[in-house]
Symmetry: C2
């Protein structure tokens, strides 16, 4: 069986994701599609609106064959580490290829850009440093430095978020010397962060979440998501009473910040350069998470970078927790599979280079403890007994099967 | 002006406290009465039902002339340290005497008991060790060891909570070589921890709080408290939307415990002998603070000892925070005064041996930081904008004057 890998968050699974999945399967000519998916907290530093289990079910019902969890240690991270963890897992699972959506849509552009940046490394890095010192955020410094090289249209537009991710995927593939073929497809219609609906069937996950939370009306999103997603979201809301969003964790974040010293806050991962003073000051005067974010925000830090810091503070993840020696994932946490996915795993047992965890009690690992802690915190948005119900799933839920 | 001191928590101020106050003034023949009062968290390891400012107002309106705050470092503590901090402050304020309620009611009994225990020190301490090793709580070991000395009726009954406190007050007075005269009056009717109403006008604070929270009916308590107290409680509830109780802090405590390791929990003050494992396990499975307490409780730990641990965990107070070199209070935080109180302070300026803080910004001190942090946490039970309103008082409220 030939497999291709995709890297996803599915927050929630929508028609754009369905398009990416079907195109990936077609382009790669694969029999099965394997998704590496972020767990309960996402790359943007946000809680997923529904748990990883519910998002796994959405994926399986829409045709994905295997869903594995990208560990917290790699998921709540800047693009480079997120990409490294994801690509490493797909490689470990024996994928012949992986396929990502990008604004560019041409795979050669990615390799070409990696090569030219290698050649211009010194100038590029000097420029990045210069722009950072001038107060730019890291992604903005990257994009400006790249533009300064004046390379023209044969190369990637690295101001586009999915080009950046794709660039990191291909680079990660090269770095781990994987034989996986890199494939890309053009993203259709919606831009990554679009907040408005711009097509009749495809909208960004951001626009969909906005419609859910701001308008408090899930029917409005029906045309942009598969029925399976719609049903899962409704079911989740009925079962657990809420959909997850940052505001529900705000009291915990505020409490935590208010009881710590500057020095203690500086111990958390990604808290750098004195931003602990801003965090603490904002925690005292802010009345909501949104208010807090606006009080902390500066030109130097992207919104998502600050959100990621906040997730690490919530989960008590310190620099020392992230700086241990394992640079790559050490386990494959299986969240769900179709019958085909099950057969694939059986057939490829010997080739899969990492232990597969389908039950939590069977495996001890430092990074896995971070995943578990993240799930404990994630469940705190729920009222009892829903909290205990969701938390119990972390320990006893077998891989979802459809 | 002659002054006497009393040591109080006023949670809330009731007719029994009024009796204690008037008797203290009469017995001591003092012109003014000075109260050292716990701040927002109390000796039993509980949040006060209303803030220290509201409780100060109750006290002043009932005739107390000066209210000063017992710092967190001495307030949320076992009897010995609580007593030491309180008596030290009263001495620093120039009181000629201090007066406490006790089951015994005879001051000579206290000195006599201190003397006899000094003589029998070795046997007494050996007994305490023996009872602790057998799994008794510290207060229970004290009481049993004392009984074993078989000293008879001339000595204190150290199984009574107010006798224990009084014993510690007198001992603290001796230890700091204070010239204050110790006075005691018999407590009237209600026992300290009585949960039922046993008289028509006097009830324990415990019974009063129980009526407020369990029956959700403040009118029921009117006969047991001065009108000033009743009005203050009603006013507080209107202004801030709640009365404080542990259950409102439970989500924060649970969150904190769930994100820490055993080793980190063991760093908190009073967390000893492996109880961190019980705390963590109970945090996962409990659905309320009451449920949690019942899951943690063992014979070895009193309910209040566990509650104090929990307050320290909430306020992030570690063993290292409590083990600094200052054994005694280093400042007098003035919460409120009557006109007489103001005159007293003016007249005695030169004799008062500690700096008086009437505005927070004017003084820097490590123990004071604990008080401020406790107030930040205390305010987290309130919804915005009430939280900010209460928190602002910590920094800008001048001493209450009536």
């Amino acid at each position: 069986m030939k497999s291709t890998g995709i890297i996803v968050e599915y927050n929630p699974f929508h028609n754009g994701h369905l398009y990416h999945f079907t195109q990936s399967k077609e382009t790669s000519n694969a029999d099965i599609v394997i998704a590496v998916m972020s767990g309960n907290f996402l790359q943007r530093g946000e809680p997923a609106i529904v748990s990883k289990w519910a998002r796994t079910k959405m994926a399986l019902l829409s045709g994905i064959d295997l869903v594995v969890e990208l560990p917290y240690k790699f998921a709540v991270q800047q693009a480079e580490i997120f990409a490294l963890g994801s690509v490493y897992l797909l490689n470990a699972l024996g994928c012949q290829s992986f396929c990502f959506g990008s604004e560019s849509g041409e795979i050669d552009t990615f390799s070409r850009t990696i090569d030219i940046l290698e050649i211009n490394k010194k100038q590029y890095n000097d420029n990045i440093k210069k722009y950072m010192q001038a107060g730019n955020s890291y992604p903005s410094a990257l994009s400006k430095s790249f533009q300064d090289l004046g390379l023209g249209a044969k190369y990637l537009d690295l101001s586009k978020p999915n080009n950046i991710l794709g660039y990191q995927y291909v680079k990660a593939r090269n770095n781990i010397h994987s034989k996986m073929e890199a494939l890309t497809i053009s993203r259709k219609n919606a831009n990554y962060h679009d907040e408005e609906f711009s097509s009749s069937t495809i909208a960004s996950a951001t626009a969909i979440r906005k419609a859910i939370f701001d308008d408090n009306d899930t029917t409005k999103i029906q045309q942009y998501i598969p029925t399976a997603t719609y049903n899962e979201i409704s079911h989740y809301q009925e079962t657990f009473g809420i959909l997850h969003q940052w505001e529900l964790y705000w009291p915990y974040l505020q409490f935590k910040l208010l009881t710590l010293t500057h020095e203690e806050i500086a111990e958390f991962y990604e808290v750098e350069e004195g931003i602990e003073y801003r965090l603490l000051k904002a925690a005292e005067k802010s009345v909501s998470f949104y208010d807090f974010m606006n009080n902390v925000k500066t030109k130097r830090y992207t919104w998502t970078r600050i959100q990621r810091m906040c997730v690490h503070i919530l989960t008590n993840t310190k620099k020392t927790d992230m700086k241990n020696e394992c640079k790559y994932p050490e386990y494959i946490r299986l969240l769900g599979m179709t019958e085909n996915g099950r057969i694939y795993l059986n057939e490829n047992k010997k080739n899969i280079s990492l232990p597969i965890i389908s039950k939590l009690s069977s495996f001890q690992n430092e990074a896995l403890q971070l995943d578990i802690k993240a799930s404990k915190v994630y469940a705190l948005a729920l009222k009892e007994p829903a909290r205990q119900h969701l938390l119990k799933m972390e320990f006893s839920q077998p891989p979802i099967q459809v």
